[in-house]
């Protein structure tokens, strides 16, 4: 055994540069998307549930709700797009919790990479998956008679609005991911919260008329209702700006609460 003094190399960098941060985020987003190649079921998962929902809702509830499938499509397609975005947001927490429990997250954090890259990379990848789901939903809707009544710009705005809201809202699932010890619990929790949240809105109905006053009030003021109404406006026409702003304000509020809570929970569990 030799006694040696440790001499570190002279070329160490002091901090992560912005360029490196962007590269780290893209690399980690790639990592989350390349998984699909090995697990094509995931893509199927991303596509099948939305397709099923569109078909079931349109053909089972359509005639009863609006008199015909065709009349119900402009109501239900934007609604399902919004609901699906909320459910898909849970996959951010699911993946994050998997990484933490499997030790992958620790490996990343022991590397000289941007501190925010593991989370940002995942959110970026999940945003791409969200866009994919929305495209599938629009395509299925189109196949059974749904038409975008507005213009390309409005359609693009609808995508941007949905993805922005989804990213802001996904902080709730990040928070749950930090609090539970198994990825499955993120899903269960998500289901229990998001199912009522999406139904207590105008996602599947034209208006809250006939619903008991207090419940209608809750539903009318739900962030999901505002998101759905804005999406309807952007896809088939109607008021947009107010709903979009209120939905985004909710999103900002939700992330302003849950982002710091998540960071605190992460520090506690580490």
């Amino acid at each position: 055994m030799t006694t040696a003094t440790f001499t570190p190399p002279q070329t160490l960098s002091k901090r992560v540069s912005p360029g490196t941060t962007v590269r780290n985020v893209l690399t980690l987003a790639w990592r989350n998307l390349v998984q699909i190649k090995h697990n094509p079921m995931e893509l199927l998962d991303l596509s099948i549930q939305p397709i099923m929902f569109v078909l079931l809702f349109a053909y089972v509830f359509g005639p009863a709700m609006e008199g015909s499938v065709d009349a119900y499509l402009p109501v239900v397609i934007p609604g399902i797009i919004a609901q699906n975005a909320l459910f898909a947001g849970m996959s951010t927490g699911f993946g994050l919790n998997t990484d933490i429990t499997k030790g992958v997250f620790d490996r990343f954090r022991s590397l000289p990479i941007s501190r925010s890259a593991p989370l940002a990379g995942r959110i970026l990848a999940d945003t791409a998956k969200q866009a994919w789901s929305m495209m599938i939903l629009l395509a299925v809707g189109f196949a059974i008679g749904f038409r975008v009544e507005t213009n390309v710009l409005a359609l693009i705005t609808a995508f941007v609005l949905l993805l922005t809201f989804a990213v802001l809202f996904s902080w709730t699932s990040v928070f749950i991911a930090m609090k539970v010890n198994e990825p499955e619990k993120v899903q269960i929790f998500g289901f229990v919260v998001i199912f009522p949240l999406s139904f207590l809105s105008t996602a599947f109905i034209k208006s809250t008329q006939g619903i008991p006053g207090w419940l209608a009030a809750v539903m009318d003021n739900s962030p999901v209702t505002h998101l759905v109404e804005a999406m309807r406006g952007l896809l088939v026409g109607g008021p947009v700006l107010n709903h979009a702003l209120i939905a985004l304000a909710w999103g900002v509020g939700i992330s302003a609460v849950f982002a710091p809570l998540s960071l605190r929970a992460f520090k506690q569990r580490a």
């Binding site: 440790f6 620790d106 490996r107 000289p112 990479i113």
Partner: protein, 339 residues
């Protein structure tokens, strides 16, 4: 002199629980430091602080000469980490896992691919290179995890219980890899629950218990401190236990422990065994079972602390059982030689 790893009075509290109560240790460049202790002793917490994953509540640590809190980014450029739970992405293939790390470290794509192939070859994973890591066996996952921590050619490597849960064959393979690393001048901090593992690999050993260092030194100094081996005698008649206990204790010069009809005592001189047999024979004690084996971690702890390791999991017990078996094989070899 600059140590590769130096911790001074590390304290870590999680809420009301104190995981570390002032851990100090040093590792010289190019050596293996073994951190030995039972579950919950503070091994993982120490590793995580040194690997910049968590900040200490008190005390300080330098890795590669840099402060783990204030110069964490520099520390991260020098270290590799292999945790207790293999930190590989199960959905990705072996190759993709290593390329991912290479790309994160800023190694160009082509070079990352070459480095991945080289490491997979070295760890005998070439055949499984294009398979998703979830199809790997436990031993293969650990090897991939270790390969991942070596992509950036770290000068200091943290191995947190790298062999926990592995079968003896995989474990021996991993030991060979660790020995190979120190030949390349890498400094290794290895935590383990197994005395034998620390004995096999470490130049220096730090024993920690309940968040404190309770002993440190080379494997030999530790063994002389606690008795390297254990002599076990089981009298055929339960009624002879007291007599056997007295004789064994007298001859070993240490307090024996009688448990379930088995008398055990730490000894430093294996030559004692035939003499003990004669004395027991003279006293009319018929021996049902007699063995000489290496001290288990539990016994080291008992000798150092006066209490048993109370929370070693069943999994660890199962594995310790298999190392005991191996140790008693060796002991019986010695027995034959001394007879």
């Amino acid at each position: 002199m600059t140590y590769a790893i130096q911790a001074d009075g590390l304290v870590k509290r999680f809420g009301d629980t104190e995981a570390l109560a002032g851990v100090s240790l040093t590792a010289q460049a190019g050596t293996v430091l073994g951190v030995l202790g039972p579950n919950g002793a503070g091994k993982t917490t120490t590793t995580r602080i040194l690997a910049t994953l968590i900040e200490p509540t008190g005390g300080s640590a330098r890795v590669g000469g840099f402060d783990v809190v204030k110069e964490a980014h520099k520390v991260r450029q020098l270290i590799g980490l292999t945790g207790q739970y293999a930190g590989v992405d199960e959905m990705l293939t072996g190759t993709e896992n290593l390329i991912l790390i290479g790309r994160l470290l800023g190694i160009p794509r082509r070079e990352s691919r070459a480095r991945a192939a080289e490491l997979l070859e070295r760890f005998q994973l070439t055949e499984a290179a294009e398979r998703a890591a979830k199809t790997y066996s436990g031993g293969m996952r650990r090897r991939l995890d270790l390969a991942a921590s070596l992509v950036g050619r770290p000068q200091i490597l943290f191995l947190d219980e790298p062999t926990t849960g592995l079968d003896p064959r995989s474990r021996n393979g991993l030991w060979d890899i660790v020995r190979g690393l120190t030949d390349d001048g890498v400094t290794v901090l290895l935590t383990t629950q197994y005395l034998e593992e620390a004995d096999q690999l470490a130049d220096d050993i730090v024993v920690i218990d309940r968040g404190q260092v309770i002993a440190h030194g080379t494997s030999d100094t530790l063994k002389s401190q606690v008795g390297g081996q254990v002599l076990e005698v089981r009298p055929l008649q339960e009624s002879d236990v007291a007599a056997a206990s007295r004789i064994v204790g007298e001859m070993a010069g240490a307090e024996p422990e009688a448990r379930d009809g088995m008398v055990s005592v730490p000894i430093t001189d294996p030559q004692l065994m035939p003499a003990v047999v004669r004395r027991l024979d003279d006293a009319g004690v018929t021996v049902g079972e007699l063995s000489l084996r290496k001290s288990s971690l539990d016994e080291v702890f008992f000798a150092l602390t006066g209490h048993h390791t109370d929370d070693i999991e069943a999994e660890a017990d199962a594995l310790a059982g298999s190392t005991d078996l191996k140790a008693s094989d060796k002991a019986s070899d010695k027995e034959g030689a001394s007879a």
